[in-house]
């Protein structure tokens, strides 16, 4: 179908600015769902991506949880990968050489079990060519605080962010967990501690069991729910966070189409990450970019930035200003 609005021959401007981070378009891949990029070679146009967020990286390699690690649920996926990864050194020596020549901003998702680990990771990644930002995964247990998850406490979140902030000149993204009473409170703590950008959501704490064997379906018992099932939760989180902070926000959770991505942008996210949907269709990110372009053309907008955050929450009574409207009984 042809577009019939907007100046001919001028594709809409999809570029977005997230504080210190400039992206050619707002569509990235979400950590843990896109490996280190190379896995998708031949299946999707890597170079078109706004950014690639790689699998969460720790100081030392981690084997991850024993299997089973996955459960499919209605419109969702529970995973308990256990943050298996090659460790920061092999990431830099083995994975970055593939990513660097692509010319796509690489965002490195990092995690640790102590504040020091986060800090050392940030220091190690600082200055590595091709890395555009670090994304702090705070959904990890703090071994020094009885395994309490960093991101469920504003104070601990702030301490992690500060530690990373001190060690890097790269833009710092803090990735928030939805498993909290007030995500706005954690968001404010992360922003105050120096996070340039916030991203949300990580997966929702979940579980599945097998009624026949009477056992959990995941060796780890608990896992994180992702996919279309969580989109309404993610959208609510992004709404709350964008209204709680001034810094830019990246929307994540259940995005599988241009319409989904546009919902997050409408609510106020400046960019989005696509996770589980990559498994379903590796070409989904390209389709989302195409769809956003088409949407802007049809809506007569020349830039995605004109659409971001334009949600109208004022009350709208279409039939109120009229003669008939006075006929209340």
């Amino acid at each position: 179908m042809e577009s019939n609005h907007g100046p001919a021959n001028t594709a809409p401007d999809l570029s977005v600015q997230l504080g210190p981070l400039s992206l050619k378009n707002p569509v990235m891949t979400a950590s843990g769902t896109f490996g280190y990029g190379q896995e998708y070679e031949g299946l999707t146009d890597l170079q078109r991506l706004g950014a690639i967020v790689v699998k969460g990286i720790s100081l030392a390699p981690r084997p991850g949880n024993p299997p089973p690690r996955l459960v499919e649920t209605p419109a969702g996926l529970i995973n308990a990968i256990g943050l298996e990864n090659v460790g920061v050194d092999r990431f830099i020596s083995v994975k970055m050489p593939y990513l660097l020549p692509l010319g796509v901003p690489v965002i490195v998702n990092i995690f640790g079990n102590t504040i020091e680990e986060y800090a050392q990771l940030a220091a190690r990644l600082n200055g590595v060519p091709g890395i555009a930002a670090v994304e702090i995964n705070v959904s990890c247990p703090n071994v020094k605080k009885g395994g309490m998850v960093f991101g469920t406490d504003p104070e601990m979140t702030a301490r992690v962010v500060e530690a990373v902030r001190r060690e890097t000149t790269l833009p710092v993204i803090t990735k928030l967990t939805p498993n909290v009473t007030s995500i706005a409170e954690i968001a404010r703590a992360a922003e105050s501690a120096g996070s340039d950008i916030l991203s949300c959501i990580n997966t929702v704490a979940a579980m599945a069991v097998d009624i026949f064997s009477r056992r959990p379906r995941l060796a780890n018992i608990f896992g994180g729910l992702s996919g279309p099932a969580v989109k309404p939760i993610a959208l609510r989180c992004v709404y709350e966070v964008t209204r709680a902070v001034k810094c830019p926000v990246i929307g994540i959770g259940g995005i599988a189409s241009a319409a989904d991505a546009l919902e997050f942008l409408l609510v106020g996210a400046r960019a989005v990450q696509v996770g589980t949907a990559n498994f379903v269709d590796p070409e989904v990110t390209g389709q989302i970019m195409d769809g956003i372009e088409r949407f802007l053309e049809v809506e007569g907008l020349s830039a995605i930035s004109d659409y971001i955050g334009t949600l109208d929450t004022g009350c709208l009574f279409p039939f109120a200003e009229d003669a008939c409207a006075t006929m209340e009984i």
């Binding site: 969702g76 060796a219 498994f279």
Partner: protein
């Protein structure tokens, strides 16, 4: 070669037994590159129900015709939805994926093929490829299932062109007992003078474990096609892990079935560290 995403037209689709279906797909790019033992990730329909793709091995590969065949058994929602797809429709595939079987240099080495249930699927193509190697074919198929109705019809299996030994857990067809037991007894019996130089097997993990025990005890080459739940099939989600001594380059505790497998040697898997895997729910319930 590189994996690709391809929209494949359904050429035919028929029910070959109570719960088993044969699906022929026009898939020129994938069929051109596919090897026996590799698989595709198939999207049974658009939408969220089910959400994920499903892995299926190649039952037959016809590179000249640009076609492949998949043999599948009803297990749950995904295969049920798949079973209703009409010829002429298109199905979205990603493949070929995984490592595939390594063919022996010569057809004449004594080869034991062991298949449990729908684990028969990749065997047919493997046999066809081995048959075309130099040397006189010296392979035997040991094929078991829970009950006779879960076996492929005998005429189809006989067409594979090698001797077949059937087993059913309930004795309703062939040997009465586990296929691995049949295999052990058959090889142990000197009169059969069949000492496999290599074992290739595909089936549920519990069967594979017995295969692994045998090949390790008998110091025999082995290629086991293993299963795992898969979200991506391409090494990106790390969901399909099995405890193993990885390839040298990955000194970790797990291998990924979709990427490093699905074919593994028995010795590379740490069987004692495998935790209970889900098995399909009994079919009698909640139909």
């Amino acid at each position: 070669m590189e994996k690709v995403k391809e929209s494949a037209r359904v050429i035919f689709h028929e029910q070959v037994s109570a719960r088993i279906f044969l699906l022929r797909l026009e898939s020129p790019r994938i069929s051109a590159a596919a090897r026996a033992g590799q698989f595709v990730m198939l999207r049974v329909r658009r939408g969220n129900d089910p959400l994920l793709r499903r892995p299926f091995s190649f039952y037959r590969i016809y590179p000249e015709q640009g076609e492949v065949e998949i043999l599948y058994q009803l297990a749950g929602l995904g295969t049920l939805v798949l079973s209703r797809i009409a010829p002429g429709s298109t199905l979205d595939l990603i493949g070929p994926l995984g490592n595939g079987f390594h063919l022996p240099v010569d057809a004449s080495i004594p080869l034991a093929l062991i298949a449990g249930g729908i684990g028969i699927a990749p065997m047919c193509e493997l046999i066809a490829q081995i048959a075309s190697l130099p040397g006189t074919l010296n392979a035997r198929l040991f094929y078991g299932a829970r009950t006779a109705t879960e076996l492929l019809p005998e005429r189809i299996v006989r067409d594979f062109g090698i001797p077949v030994h059937f087993a059913t857990d309930d004795g309703s067809f062939g040997y009465n007992g586990r296929v691995t037991k049949l295999f052990e007894e058959f090889t142990r019996d000197r009169r059969n003078s069949f000492q496999p130089g290599e074992v290739c097997s595909c089936g549920p993990l519990a069967m594979q474990y017995h295969v692994a025990k045998w090949v390790i005890a008998h110091d025999t080459l082995s290629q086991l096609s293993l299963e795992s739940l898969m979200a991506c099939g391409i090494g990106a989600c790390l969901g399909c892990a099995l405890p193993a001594s990885g390839p040298d380059s990955e000194p970790q505790g797990f291998v990924h079935v979709c990427e490093h497998g699905p074919i593994f040697s028995a010795g590379s898997i740490k069987w004692n560290q495998i935790m209970v895997q889900q098995t399909p729910p009994p079919t009698y319930l909640f139909s």
